[in-house]
Amino acid sequence: MNVLLREDGLQPWADKKVAPQLCIRNVVKTFDGFTAVNDVSLDIYRGEFFSLLGGSGCGKTTLLRMLAGFEFPDRGGISVDGLDLLKLQPYERPLNMMFQNYALFPHMNVAKNIAFGLRNEGLGPDEIEKRVKKSLELVQLEAFAERKPNQLSGGQRQRVALARALVKRPTVLLLDEPLSALDKKLREATQFELINIQKQVGVTFIMVTHDQDEAMAMSTRIAVMDKGRVIQVGEPREIYEYPRSRFIATFIGSINLLEGPVVDCGADGSRVDCAQWGGPVRVAQDLTALSGHHVAIGVRPEKIRLARADEFAFTADNIADGVVKEIAYLGDSMLYRVQLPSGLLVKVAAQNLGVWFSADEPVRIGFDASAGVAIDK
C-alpha cells in the first residue's frame, strides 16, 4: 500500500488544516441524455496517488477527461491550487495526461516526442535538450532517444509517454489505464516503478483503472465509481475492510454476505440473527444505530478458518458446520465453497499449508467477531 510519508503519521486527508490541491465540486456531465458523471465531488491532496476505480461506463474516464479539458462539465467546478480549470483550454492547464494507448507521435523519435511539450514554453534549445535528457534518464531510456515509437516495446512506449508528460513538470499527472496495454509480469514490475517515479518527482498522480489489484497496490486513496457516481472514497485498506455498500463489497475482492436483522447491540459488539448461518452472528461493531434493521455481515474468505469436524482445532466467535462442496486449487492458496445446512455456500480461502480437504468432507468453519463488517446498503 502506498502512503504519504509525514512526520506525524497523519495522512493529509485526515488533517483538517491541509487544503486539498485539486477540488472537484458537484460535477455533472451528460452525453445525449446519458449521465456519464453524476454530481461528483472529490478533494485530492498534493503528492497523492489517487485512483478512480470502476467498471467500464462508470464515468471514471469522462471525469479524467474533464480534468484534462477534453470534455467540459455541464455543471460543477474543478480547481487546481485555487486555479479555476474550467476557464482554461487543455493547452493552458497545468496538468498533463498519459494516454491509455500512450498516443506517441509516430512521425517523431523519442527525443522529439518528449521535447514536443517543451517547445511551447519558450525555452532555449539547450534547456530543452537538457530537460529531455534528464527525463530520459528518469525512465531509463537514454539509449533510445533516436528510436521511433514503432521500434519500441510496449513497456518502453509506456515509459516514453510518462517521460513526455512529466517533462512538462505538471502539478497533477493524469494516467488513463497506464498499465492495461502491458502483459501481466511487466505490469507488476511497472506498478512499483510508477510509484518510485512519483515519489521522486513529487507530482500528484490521478489514475483511472478498472483493475482493483492495481488500484489497491498503487494508490494512497481510491474513489470507487459506479453509474457516474463516486460511491466510496478511502485508503485501500479502508475500502477493503469496511466496504460501505454491497456493490463495493462484491466489486473489491471476494466476500461472503450473511443477511439478517440486528437483534442485540452495544458498545462491546452486536449480534445479527442470520438464519442462513444457523444462528446469531457476532460482530465487534456497535450497530445500535441499525437496531432492528436488516443488514448483511460481510466476511472475507481469507478471514474464515476451516478445520475437519472431528479434529476441531480453533476457537472463534462464530462457528458453523458444513460440508466441502467445491475446491479450487490456486497454488498459493485453496478456495473452498462450504455448504451449510441452510444451503448457503460460504467461500473460504485457506493458505496452502499442506492441509487439504476433499469434496463432501464434513468441516467446521469459524470467524471472529472482528472479521465481520456490517453493510446496510
Binding site: 479539458g69 493547452y91 498533463n96 491509455q100 498516443a103 509516430p106 511551447n120
Partner: protein, 304 residues
C-alpha cells in the same frame, strides 16, 4: 460422404492463383499496353493519304531489302512548335490549379467528415459521391447554364441589383478552373478522408494536452500524419486532370488550348495520326513521373 478430408491438390490451387493474377494482367496487356505500343508505333511514322492514314514503318526497298523507317520528326515538332508547348503548359497549369484548390476545399471537408461520429460519416460521404450519380457530361453542361450571361448567377445578381451587366464568368480560364475543381473534388476528398479517418485522434488530444494550440497541433501532427492522403489525393486529381479534354472544351474560351484539344485537332481536323500519337505518347511520359511517386508512396505503407 466418406468423411475423408478433401485436399485440393497443389496444382489446381496454383493454377487458380495463376488465373486470378493472369486475368487482370491479360486485360491490361490487351487493352492498355498493346494499344499504347500501336500508338507509339504510329508516332514514329508520317502522315499519308491512305487507310490507315500513315506510312507503314516496315517496307521493302527497291533492292529487296526489308527497311524499318522510324521518323522522329514528330517528336522534334512537338518540342519546337510553341502550340504544343503551350498546350502542355496550360494542361499542367490547369491540373496544378485544380490540385491546389481541390486540396484547399477538400482537406477541411475530409477533416470535417472524418471527425464526425460514425453514424454521420456514411451519409456525409454519400453526399460527396452523389455527383457521380449523374452523368459527367450533364454536370458540365449544367455549369454552362449556371455561368452563362443569362444564367442562374448572372440573372440573380442583376435581379438583386448587385450588378447591372452580366459578369463574364463562362468560356474563360475561370470557368475551366471552376469546372475542374468541381469535377475532381471527390477524388481529393476520398483518399484524404480515408487517411484522416485512420488517424489516431488521441494524438491530437495528446498534442493539445502538451500545450500546443490548435494551429500548432495541425501543423505538427495532423498535417504530417495526413501527408500520404494529401499525396494520394493530389496524384489522383493531377493525373487525369492533365489529360482533361471535356471541361476545357465546354467551359473554356476559344483560346483555351490543352493537350486533349491538341490531340483532337490532330486526329479529327488534320487527320495527322502520327502527330496525334506523338502528343499522346509525350503525355504518358509526362505522367509517368507522378505515377512513380504514387507507387513509391503506397509501397511504403502510408508513412513517408
Amino acid at each position: 460422404m466418406s468423411g475423408e478430408p478433401i485436399f485440393s491438390n497443389a496444382q489446381t490451387r496454383s493454377f487458380g492463383r495463376f488465373l486470378t493474377v493472369a486475368i487482370p494482367y491479360a486485360w491490361f496487356i490487351t487493352f492498355f499496353l498493346a494499344p499504347f505500343l500501336i500508338v507509339a508505333k504510329i508516332s514514329l511514322s508520317t502522315a499519308a493519304t491512305a487507310i490507315p492514314p500513315y506510312e507503314p514503318l516496315v517496307g521493302w526497298a527497291d533492292d529487296g531489302a526489308l527497311v524499318l523507317t522510324l521518323h522522329i520528326a514528330n517528336y522534334k515538332l512537338i518540342f519546337s512548335d510553341s502550340v504544343y508547348l503551350i498546350a502542355y503548359a496550360s494542361s499542367l497549369r490547369n491540373a496544378a490549379v485544380t490540385v491546389i484548390f481541390t486540396l484547399l476545399l477538400g482537406y477541411p471537408l475530409a477533416y470535417f467528415i472524418a471527425s464526425r461520429s460514425a453514424k454521420w460519416r456514411a451519409p456525409l460521404l454519400m453526399l460527396v459521391m452523389m455527383p457521380f450519380w449523374t452523368s459527367f457530361l450533364i454536370r458540365v453542361y449544367a455549369w454552362i447554364g449556371i455561368l452563362k450571361p443569362n444564367g442562374v448567377i448572372n440573372s440573380t445578381l442583376i435581379w438583386l441589383g448587385v450588378i447591372d451587366k452580366p459578369l463574364e464568368i463562362l468560356n474563360n480560364q475561370f470557368s475551366v478552373y471552376l469546372g475542374m475543381v468541381y469535377a475532381y473534388l471527390p477524388f481529393m476528398v476520398l483518399p484524404l478522408y480515408s487517411h484522416l479517418e485512420k488517424m489516431d485522434w488521441s494524438l491530437l488530444e495528446a498534442a493539445n494536452d502538451l500545450g500546443a494550440r490548435p494551429a500548432r497541433v495541425f501543423r505538427e501532427v495532423t498535417l504530417p500524419l495526413s501527408m500520404p492522403g494529401i499525396v494520394a489525393g493530389s496524384l489522383l486529381v493531377f493525373i487525369p486532370a492533365v489529360g482533361e479534354y471535356i471541361i476545357p472544351t465546354l467551359l473554356g474560351g476559344p483560346d483555351t488550348l490543352t493537350i486533349g484539344a491538341a490531340l483532337w485537332n490532330e486526329f479529327f481536323s488534320n487527320h495527322d495520326w502520327p502527330v496525334a500519337s506523338t502528343v499522346a505518347v509525350a503525355l504518358v511520359v509526362l505522367l509517368v513521373g507522378p505515377l512513380m511517386i504514387l507507387q513509391r508512396q503506397q509501397g511504403t505503407g502510408g508513412h513517408p
